[in-house]
């Protein structure tokens, strides 16, 4: 019996010692070395914060048959109906082509029999024109969309395309003093693809010398670091990657020396984990590790129910971000139309633009709720019809077989949405005289 007692005491003593060892009190265990936060030279940088900026998303994913990308009518074409021809396209809107210098004859014609031309962002001159417009209308700049499934190593032609468009854009951003940043879109990724972003990012940083304040004085900085956006985290639409995959990526991209600031693109109801948001508090933990959060609002409301839906969300989001010391950027969009992409005429103008009334309502709503900056979806997105750049007007569109193209309202100039976004930028820059009423030109 006594032996048992001694054994028990010995065991207990061992357990106590073993436990205390695990707490890391052992003085021989070296502490991890303190990593100093990286400090960047921001002299000459024109955009050292996203605060007060109005930036748009830039798809740059189109290619024209005959351009140097050799990708055919990429993203103009619609594989579900056989390509790019009257009766079949991915795009609803048609770019206003008057100012482009490099154009390509499309398979479409106008009613008078003349050829309908298109541009390719693979050409530097076309991207240059877009950045010139940003400057002309006072829009701060754009986030270059980088779809990971398009740039991963198994897709060399995609990677070549997006790198060329980025090169064009970096040159134009510098020429016209426009803000530029990169936004990775994780849609369609596997966990491995998500992890690959780190490699792609490192390639971009070194091949374009992205953090060089002299070469790229308009690359957006935020919290003293270059800003990179990661879009598509926390959606519950059966994505193959998880919040944890995205968190691991962001940990690596920031690194112990906090190399970058991160904007995180999340579902609209991210704060309450409602609707299309994954019901996981891990999303909030991740948001708190980032610098800015941007909820995806496209398709979440229309002109009629905007205030009712967005009012409480904006106010709640802004309060949450203030309490957690995170930046907040609401999204605004001019309207939505994807009848051709979905091959369903009932989806033309599914969220009507109402001559800018809808866009301005969101601009005013964000401003009056206390937002400090905006993300505009999108500069050149004509597949889903959210583009703000110059598009052809109703009555001036090519014929489209038994389908149709959607135009800017006939009594508006083709640059109305560029102009209106510029007015939003003025307001967010602090210019007086704006209100809930759409400004009159």
């Amino acid at each position: 019996m006594k032996i048992f007692r001694i054994a028990a005491l010995a065991l207990a003593a061992y357990l106590v010692l073993a436990c205390s060892k695990k707490k890391g009190d052992d003085p021989t265990t070296p502490l991890p070395p303190e990593v100093e936060e990286v400090v960047y030279d921001e002299s000459g940088c024109l955009y050292t914060s996203y605060n007060n900026l109005v930036m748009a998303g830039y798809q740059g994913w189109f290619a024209a048959e005959g351009d140097a990308s050799q990708r055919g009518w990429y993203h103009y074409r619609n594989g579900n109906c056989g390509g790019f021809m009257p009766g079949c396209s991915a795009v609803d809107f048609w770019p206003d082509m008057q100012e482009y210098t490099q154009t390509y004859k499309s398979p479409f014609r106008f009613a008078d029999g003349s050829d309908a031309m298109l541009y390719s962002p693979y050409d530097a001159s076309s991207v240059d024109l877009h950045f010139k417009w940003m400057k002309d209308y006072g829009i701060d700049g754009v986030f270059m969309q980088r779809f990971v499934v398009e740039i991963k190593s198994s897709n060399p032609s995609g990677k070549r395309h997006f790198n060329q468009v980025l090169q064009n854009a970096l040159a134009a951003a510098r020429k016209y003093d426009r803000a530029i940043s990169i936004m990775y879109d994780l849609s369609g990724c596997t966990p491995e693809d998500v992890a690959y972003v780190e490699q792609d990012w490192n390639e971009l940083v070194s091949s374009f010398d992205l953090f060089n304040n002299k070469t790229h004085p308009t690359y957006v900085r935020h919290n003293k670091k270059p800003l990179v956006a990661i879009w598509g985290v926390g959606f519950n639409d059966n994505r193959k990657y998880s919040i944890a995959n995205a968190a691991a990526l962001i940990d690596k991209m920031k690194g112990p020396s906090k190399k970058v600031s991160v904007l995180l693109g999340v579902p609209y109801y991210w704060r309450s984990l409602g609707n299309d948001t994954e019901k996981s508090p891990a999303l909030h933990d991740l948001v708190k590790k980032t610098d800015i959060v941007m909820p995806w609002a496209v398709g979440r409301y229309n002109n009629n129910n905007y205030a009712n839906i967005a009012g409480a969300e904006l106010a709640g989001d802004i309060a949450w971000c203030r309490n957690n010391n995170i930046g907040y950027v609401p999204l605004v969009f001019p309207g939505f139309s994807w009848g051709n992409l979905r091959n369903d005429p009932s989806l033309y103008n599914s969220i009507p633009r109402l001559k800018g009334e809808f866009l301005w309502k969101q601009v005013a709503g964000a401003k009056m709720s206390g937002a400090g900056s905006l993300y505009v979806a999108m500069f050149d997105e004509i597949d889903e019809g959210t583009a703000i750049y110059k598009c052809a007007r109703e009555g001036e569109l090519p014929l489209h077989g038994d389908m149709k193209f959607v135009g800017i309202e006939a009594d508006l100039p083709s640059d109305h949405y560029l102009w209106l976004t510029g007015q939003a930028a003025n307001w967010f820059h602090g210019q007086q005289g704006y209100s809930v009423q759409q400004p009159v030109r």
Partner: protein, 227 residues
């Protein structure tokens, strides 16, 4: 005899089971205030169908949330809680959403919420002139949603509000309120004489409802008027 044995057995069982269930009763409580972040004033509430505080006790799965009610003046007190850690979140309120927080409740624990009310009713005045009780006020809204309606509510109980009123004068706004506009509402006393008896005192309170999901009305403090 058998009956006596059964009786004794039942008594023993009862006593034994009493002893077995004899845990300590709830000895802790949660109390606090809803404070307007800007004005520092209490944020007035409805006593019935008003803002609630959802508390979820930790350590049980599944767990049924409990709901604490808030008093008209914007304070609350519940003294029947077990000591534990709780996740606490005000719900269905009349202020911009606040985050849930973890709170260790032991003894009389105080927890104030600093909130931004959806609507502030300012420059409120309730006066009786002749047969009318008239309210004038301004509306300051802190979200971009429409104001659904405004109302003047009367009840002989000081806890008067939209759900607890004997007489009401309401106006549907369904619009964003103009902060510069002076709104006015009135209740005619003689035409409500079956409810509003002369010679008695009643409480009158101005309320406004924002058009947000399950939001509750915002109020100015009730005013006692002798009729």
């Amino acid at each position: 005899m058998n009956k006596i044995i059964i009786g004794i057995a039942a008594l023993c069982l009862t006593l034994a089971s009493c002893e077995k269930d004899n845990y300590d009763g709830p000895d802790s409580g949660l109390t606090g205030r809803f404070i307007d972040a800007e004005s520092g004033q209490l944020v007035e509430q409805d006593i019935i169908r008003g803002t609630q505080i959802e508390i979820i006790e930790h350590g049980y799965d599944p767990v049924t949330p409990q709901y604490l009610i808030v008093k008209t003046d914007g304070t609350y007190e519940n003294s029947m809680l077990f000591s534990n850690t709780y996740t606490v979140k005000p719900v269905r309120g009349n202020f911009i959403n606040v985050e849930a927080q973890e709170v260790q409740i032991t003894g009389r624990t105080t927890l104030d919420f600093t909130v931004t009310p959806y609507i502030r009713i300012t420059n409120a005045s309730i006066t009786r002139s002749g047969d009318k009780v008239r309210a004038t006020f301004n509306i300051e809204q802190n979200v971009i949603n429409n104001v659904k309606k405004i109302g003047l509510y009367a009840h002989q109980d000081a806890r008067v509000g939209e759900p607890m009123r004997q007489v009401a004068a309401e106006q549907q706004l369904n619009a964003v309120a103009d902060p510069a506009h002076q709104y006015s509402l009135e209740i005619d006393v003689p035409s409500n004489s079956s409810v509003l008896k002369s010679g008695r005192a009643y409480y009158f309170r101005i309320g406004a409802l924002i058009d947000v999901g399950e939001a509750k009305l915002n109020y100015a403090p009730a005013v006692k008027v002798d009729l």
